[in-house]
């Protein structure tokens, strides 16, 4: 009996050792992100890279749509039930400040883990809260003008004629193109709300002042932004698509000559294979008569965050550091297969970035976009980012319907202040 017991004890001990060893051997890092062709693909490639550095770590990627990611995080944080959250989440840059300041302490501090000097300043800034960094920047949202060079040519213009121009010049050319070819120069989603973010950022201005208070009423840049958008719409040179599907279809079927959008739209532009060689990429127009106005801005993009609650936060941070924040080669791989343009500046030196792109008539579009993104002005996004944008969107709509701009901007300011009040 004694013998039996001692054997049993040994077996149990051995088994538990094995279990512990087994558990240590395989650390699984789970990741939530969306878009199989883009983010998920990149994450899986990064996992391959890291497998060679640290073979004991397994990366498990789970597809969760971006809104769903946010809903689940909100529900988890507010109820304190965080067991089901992953180790790493992808988050839209625009949502960063909302989550960082509403749920302090929920994300892992990456300040000392990542060399942030390798990333464009404007991009890093989306996830800085009280001087600390909480995200590894990923895909580039650098705004660019994707334009049909053949339609331009028909109207007597070249790509150079729409490069480094002002909005008023753009509208002029647009009218001319419309007259000569019958095609609206620009397509965008209904309401033109994207420009409410792109244009102010191109002039280095945002909706809030240094203290984080709304800075809408009497803001010259915002006023110029709304005026420009209305002029553009009134000139009849914009096709306003009812939704994303129609927007993409206007691009791919030649219903409009260009779009001004984050560079990730490239993946949709190249879908129209019959238009290969007929497209070009250049920078976006700048505001007239505004000090500090540039031809560069940002629209969209996302970054990786590590959850503070994660048991493997340190490993997750190391994983991100060695891949998304440390491997030029990795970025060449994902660029070639998925068109995911980096915000990791050293990546631009790789061969994939310098290669000419056939769809764009041999233009080295990726190198150009990297060059644009280095010049994007930095702005301070704030907690009430979406609220301010929505208020401005409403103001723009009312202004286009014939309202008085100054009072509408005052109204937008009041709306945001109302929402900030508790």
């Amino acid at each position: 009996m004694k013998k039996f017991l001692s054997v049993l004890l040994t077996v149990v001990l051995l088994a538990s050792f094995a279990a512990v060893a087994g558990a240590e051997e395989k650390t699984t890092i789970t990741v939530w992100c969306w878009d199989p062709a883009f983010n998920i693909y990149a994450m899986n490639e990064a996992a391959k890279v890291y497998a060679q550095i640290n073979p004991d770590v397994e990366i498990e990627v789970i597809e969760v749509a971006s809104n769903d990611c946010e809903t689940r995080q909100t529900a988890a944080f507010i109820s304190g039930q965080m067991d089901d959250l992953p180790d790493i989440v992808l988050m839209q840059d625009n949502s960063g400040q909302k989550f960082l300041s509403t749920y302090p302490g929920m994300y892992y501090d990456l300040t000392d883990k990542i060399d942030y000097s390798n990333f464009a300043d404007f991009k890093v800034n989306y996830f800085v809260s009280e001087g600390r960094n909480y995200a590894v920047p990923f895909d580039n949202g650098c705004a660019a003008m994707f334009i049909r060079t053949d339609i331009l040519e028909e109207a007597g213009y070249t790509l150079a004629d729409v490069t480094d121009i002002t909005w008023s010049r753009f509208i002029e050319i647009g009218k001319d193109v419309k007259e000569k070819t019958g095609v609206p120069i620009l397509t965008c989603e209904m309401g033109l709300a994207d420009f409410l973010m792109m244009i102010p950022q191109s002039a280095g201005t945002w909706y809030f002042d240094e203290e984080g208070n709304p800075n809408i009423a009497g803001n010259e840049v915002l006023k110029a932004t709304l005026e420009t958008i209305k002029q553009m719409a009134d000139a009849g040179i914009v096709y306003e698509a009812v939704d994303w599907a129609e927007y993409i279809s206007t691009l791919n079927t030649g219903k409009a000559a260009s779009t001004i959008q984050g560079c990730w739209i490239l993946g949709s532009v190249v879908l129209a294979e019959d238009q290969a060689g007929k497209w070009g990429v250049t920078n976006i127009p700048r505001l007239d008569n505004i000090e500090g106005a540039t031809n560069y801005s940002n629209q969209g993009g996302s970054s990786w965050l590590v959850l503070a609650n994660s048991e493997n936060a340190e490993i997750a941070a190391d994983f991100l550091n060695q891949t998304f924040a440390g491997s030029t080669e990795f970025y060449q791989t994902i660029l070639k297969s998925s068109g995911a343009i980096a915000t990791y500046l050293p990546a631009a030196e790789g061969e994939a970035y310098a290669a000419p792109h056939e769809f764009f008539g041999g233009q080295a579009v990726f190198a150009d976009i990297m060059e644009f993104s280095a010049q994007i002005p930095k702005v301070e996004l704030r907690l009430y980012n979406y609220e301010a944008r929505d208020a401005l969107r409403d103001a723009l709509q009312a202004y286009r319907d014939g309202g008085d701009l100054d009072s509408l901007m005052q109204e937008a300011q009041d709306t945001v202040e109302f929402l900030m009040m508790e």
């Binding site: 969760v64 749509a65 507010i78 039930q81």
Partner: protein, 277 residues
């Protein structure tokens, strides 16, 4: 007899109008459905051009969908969740609906009015407290967790309560005289006779459970618990949307509701009196 024939003759224009109205209503109802099915067979490009006829891209779309997404898992999860929810909901709610009518008294009427109140709170508002409560009970990622909130709904109880009001009281009295117990009267007399109401209730309950989004999203976070609406949400949340594939996923998503409708619709139309006679 001849009188009726004359009457029918007179009614002819009215009958034409009736058919015209039904044809119009059917056409308007079916058109988006038709477009959805057609789009599932077309390429992304063809859908962008609003192509209205079947294409040859169905197999291609199927391959993309099954290669990129756990379609089988999501479909079976949704099917399991919706079926179990429907069966439990129908039983518990019809029991209560029957109870409220057959054993009517003023206290029960008061309870019913209170239950009605529960129907009127927007789901978005109770989501967080519910999630908190379910997490404490350890019901995350479980079938019980996802179905429990829809098992007893004031909506269904109300539906059965209204349906029961036309249930002949004589049948119950006769059964009692025959010495049947109260539960057996419910199971053996009421349930078979109320088939039309059960069929209608099953159709709408299944439909609601099948399409449920917000609650499953937060309570079922584990990837092996993914449901069809979550999967469709994933297919749309990409930089480059493949609408052919999305439409195929959406078409597949409608199959169970339709099958159920086909299977049960006879019950709405054959009716109790027909079967009793």
């Amino acid at each position: 007899m001849s009188q009726i024939r004359i009457r029918r003759g007179k009614l002819r224009p009215a009958r034409v109008a009736k058919y015209a109205f039904l044809v119009l209503a059917s056409f308007l109802s079916a058109f988006p459905f038709y477009w959805m099915l057609v789009s599932a067979t077309n390429s992304n490009q063809a859908i962008m051009e609003m192509r209205m006829f079947p294409g040859a891209n169905l197999i291609e779309n199927w391959k993309t969908l099954t290669a990129g997404y756990a379609l089988g898992t999501a479909f079976l999860n949704s099917l399991r969740n919706a079926t179990v929810t429907t069966v439990c909901a129908l039983f518990i709610s019809s029991l209560a609906g029957y109870g409220f009518v057959v054993y009517r008294d003023k206290y029960k009427n008061l309870v019913m009015s209170l239950l009605m109140l529960s129907m009127m709170v927007p789901a978005a508002a109770t989501l967080i407290p519910m999630f908190r409560m379910f997490s404490r009970m350890g019901l995350n990622n479980s079938l019980l967790g996802v179905m429990l909130p829809s098992v007893a709904t004031a909506f269904l109880i109300f539906m059965f309560r209204q349906g029961t009001q036309s249930f002949p009281d004589a049948i119950i009295q006769a059964a009692r005289i025959d010495g049947l117990g109260e539960l057996r009267i419910f199971l053996q007399m009421y349930m078979p006779i109320m088939k039309p109401t059960y069929a209608a209730a099953a159709t709408v309950t299944f439909m609601n459970a099948w399409n449920a989004y917000l609650w499953p999203l937060v309570i079922l976070q584990s990837p092996d618990q993914i449901t069809m609406p979550m999967l469709i949400s994933n297919t749309m949340n990409v930089y480059v949307v493949d609408y052919g594939m999305v439409m195929l996923a959406v078409s597949i998503c409608t199959i169970p509701t339709l099958v159920l409708f086909f299977a049960l619709q006879r019950s709405f139309v054959e009716g109790i009196l027909g079967s009793v006679k």
